[in-house]
């Protein structure tokens, strides 16, 4: 019964994290009484559980996630949406508009191939295909703004503890952000320079996700960039 690494050390797939009775948490697997890592990341020994905070990981859809997707195809009564996951998602007509589906309905008038949507994963069907909905407050077709992609596993870093990071960024820049759990972020600013600043902030957060004191450094960074611009 022993731990093999210090807490928050960087581990790679195949590293033995623990030997003995413990629950295998996120991004780990158990074999022959040992717990191994499956992703590169920071190991975390919790109470009765060992897990890895992945530094590189793809997006796996879960019910309740807000995602940003691109319409890639249209079927009878449904749109096929790319959500940066291993499988495309489906948006059915009843989940997209309040009016009932009729043969007269021209689906492309509402959403066409190439359109961008902010959607919510409401269900996974029997084949684990994500079912989306765009009914509700912040959801729907996106008409303007800038989309940047980041590693989906680092999205929690952009949000911060209880939203501390994102609320700080919003307060300092006055922009609107829609953060998709699938790693796509929609930025809507009044001014082009602010959009570029936020892109740089996101790149910085992505690069330094595994370090501590990130919120303070990002705040300093915003102040410094502001200073440069005002000179």
């Amino acid at each position: 019964m022993s731990a093999y690494f210090e807490n928050r050390a960087i581990v790679v797939p195949g590293d033995i994290l623990y030997e003995g009775r413990i629950r295998a948490g996120n991004n780990t697997y158990r074999m022959g009484g040992r717990v191994y890592a499956t992703h590169i990341g920071l190991v975390e020994y919790g109470r009765g559980v060992v897990s890895v905070i992945a530094l590189e990981a793809g997006y796996m859809p879960m019910v309740g996630d807000i995602v940003i997707g691109y319409v890639v195809d249209i079927d009878v009564g449904q749109w096929i949406v790319d959500i940066n996951a291993p499988m495309n998602a489906i948006l059915k007509v009843p989940d997209a508009m309040e009016v009932p589906f009729t043969p007269e309905l021209v689906m492309t008038d509402f959403l066409d191939i190439g359109d961008t949507i902010v959607a919510k994963v409401v269900d996974l069907d029997r084949r684990r295909t994500p079912i989306l909905s765009i009914l509700g407050g912040e959801l729907g077709k996106v008409d303007e703004g800038l989309i940047v992609e980041m590693t989906p596993s680092k999205v929690p870093r952009l949000i911060g503890k209880k939203g501390s990071m994102v609320s700080m960024i919003l307060k300092e820049t006055g922009c609107k952000l829609v953060i998709g759990e699938n790693g796509r972020i929609l930025i809507q600013c009044a001014d082009r320079e602010d959009e570029e600043l936020i892109v740089n902030i996101i790149r910085k957060i992505e690069r330094e996700a595994h370090t501590t004191g990130l919120t303070n450094r990002v705040h300093e960074y915003i102040m410094r960039m502001r200073g440069v611009r005002n000179e």
């Binding site: 790679v12 195949g14 033995i16 992703h39 590189e56 793809g58 291993p86 499988m87 684990r128 595994h210």
Partner: protein, 240 residues
């Protein structure tokens, strides 16, 4: 001549690897990527996925499909080679797939595909092993769940001497070549080929020697994967 004094064409000792440099995350547009230099071999590997499989009929309902493309650039050899995929390219793509499949949790992504593209920019013998080594790093960089890394290297025989990590000359003029891919933490061999003639005892010694080489390469893979993040940590410390 004693085994200690005998030197190979490039001056290496019998159990010495070529100098190896591995770098992860070199291609911004790929989901994961790696670059390897193993002696004069230069190979770049890109990984895409897991993503929707096209054409759809190739998808498996219970697991992801791993597709590997190995390709040698026309300028990678002397004389220039034909740019199209050859019979050999197809075969090496297949053995790369066989070597990497046991390390990946393919069953977690039904109906999807993971695509690995290995492009040999410069070749000097042992490119299939170097491609597998780099592909494993690229797969981790793509965030694909893995049981273990896969390290690969060859052993063989020339002028009666058992040697590690053959270069092009030793591969062509030697008696035998044994490429081995190996998962170091799980202690599993995932690729074993043999070209040439060896006594069973010699084959055993070749495999043991190649596994030793793989263990050394494994350490370099780990360093390459961690380096990207450790550099940032140091940079941040300096800034404070």
């Amino acid at each position: 001549m004693s085994e200690e004094k005998w030197r190979r064409v490039d001056g290496r000792a019998w159990n010495e690897l070529r100098p190896i440099k591995i770098e992860s995350g070199v291609l911004p547009n790929a989901d994961g990527s790696a670059y390897i230099e193993m002696g004069r071999n230069k190979i770049i590997v890109a990984v895409y996925g897991p993503r929707e499989m096209h054409p759809k009929h190739l998808a498996k309902p219970d697991m992801a499909v791993l597709r590997c493309r190995y390709h040698m650039s026309p300028f990678s050899t002397h004389p220039r080679r034909s740019p199209g995929p050859s019979r050999r390219d197809t075969e090496i793509g297949m053995v790369m797939r066989y070597a990497l499949e046991p390390a990946i949790f393919l069953e977690r992504f039904p109906r999807a595909t993971i695509d690995v593209y290995a492009e040999v920019l410069q070749a000097d013998g042992g490119t299939r092993c170097a491609s597998i080594t780099a592909a494993a790093v690229a797969l981790v960089d793509a965030g694909i769940p893995m049981r273990d890394l896969v390290a690969a290297c060859a052993a063989g025989k020339i002028e009666g001497h058992i040697i590690l990590d053959l270069n092009d000359h030793e591969d062509k003029y030697g008696e035998a070549d044994v490429p081995v891919a190996y998962m170091p933490r799980l202690d599993r061999v995932t690729l074993l080929q043999m070209d040439g003639v060896l006594h069973p005892d010699e084959l055993r010694r070749c495999i043991e020697l190649a596994i030793e080489g793989c263990q050394h390469i494994y350490e370099l893979q780990r360093e390459a994967l961690k380096r990207k993040y450790e550099e940032v940590v140091e940079e941040v410390k300096e800034g404070e």
